[in-house]
Subunit: 253 residues, 2 copies
Amino acid sequence: MIKVVIIGSGNVAQHLLLAFVQSKIVDVIQVYTRNKNNTTLPLDSNKITSNINALLEADVYFIAVVDNAIKEVSSLLNFSNKLVVHTSGSVAMNALDNKNRKGVFYPLQTFSKQKKVDFKEIPICIESQNNKDYELLEKIALSISNHVFNINSQQRKALHVSAVFVNNFVNHLYQIGQDICAENNIPFEILQSLILETSNKIISLSPSEAQTGPAIRNDTETINSHLNFLSDNNQKEIYKLITKSIIDHGKKL
Amino acid sequence: MIKVVIIGSGNVAQHLLLAFVQSKIVDVIQVYTRNKNNTTLPLDSNKITSNINALLEADVYFIAVVDNAIKEVSSLLNFSNKLVVHTSGSVAMNALDNKNRKGVFYPLQTFSKQKKVDFKEIPICIESQNNKDYELLEKIALSISNHVFNINSQQRKALHVSAVFVNNFVNHLYQIGQDICAENNIPFEILQSLILETSNKIISLSPSEAQTGPAIRNDTETINSHLNFLSDNNQKEIYKLITKSIIDHGKKL
């Protein structure tokens, strides 16, 4: 078994722990969390520590903490020449402290505590300083996911920015749709099949093939009538800007 | 059987025709199209006309033409006191000519010619001037869809604006994600499971529960690093504006 220690107890840490528990080749021997009493980790309590200096010897240490704590946490580790990876989409591998061998193990997915995810379908982007470590990370990744990619730090940054657009920003557009429905006594559920259909299209059509609506048709009458309808300033500005961007993008094709 | 005539041969007209062919209570007796030779309608050619003055007597006339032609087409009909409905999300029922009884039959879905849709899952929003016509439209709608809603013109406008956000604009964010991936030699397929997961969340979580990412965390370091990464002006402005909107929305909660 490959012995791993998880450092952190947030969303990503919890989902990784659950995935590793299912893996036949990974043994989570310890989880570090700052507040030992405050966690509901599915792990024997004697495997949970809040003492960063009491980490057990393992094959890989997964740092799954907030982005801006990765550098500091990696520098606090009181051992050297071990494989230490972080799990962030937006932090370079080199942010990790030099005393240990570096790597990245980034599950490209949005984790909400309330919703179970099928880890097998989550792409895992891995990177490391040397080939042997890469092979180990790949072995671990393939034991929990069907989609494993070799992605360097620059690509990972691009991927993370893309993910903000297609996930965080898309969800905010759902929010705006819901807000407009609520103001007009329309059940948001009416939009559910449209939302699912829109995302399912990407399996068979490219975004440019799938683009419909007043902007791509350059239907200024509808665009102006929608802008008149909107009263919230952010909604209005988003409508204007994305409409402009769709029109500009259409010209480039 | 309920006799219907479809006026138009675009995306919506074609999908309606396919759905009506499946319906056990609707008989499409005729389709009007401006250019008779240019169509590939799944209908006997003797049921297709390009003469607006040769429309047969029917129980309902469906005007499925571009939004800004609805008014004119309805005024060109050379009969009166028949039920004439349009199929648009953004045009008021009253845009229809006064000489006939008015109604709306709006399938709230995005239709691409390349992709088949399951009409049963598409919400149909109906409206009419009188109850008897409403009942007829409801009967037709229920014969092709499991989701039928009574939506007045003001609500339909709100719904259409919402649909632009959750469908057209969401698709453009997919486009931006794809463009960023392409520039960095990353297969767009990596983002597929994230996109599907993001949309599937709306079945079980509200958009505000599902919101994740640097904006809602107020993670200015990541936000600034993403803005530095982006070089395309529209992408940068969209990033800034939606980030601001997510932060403002979070304050309201």
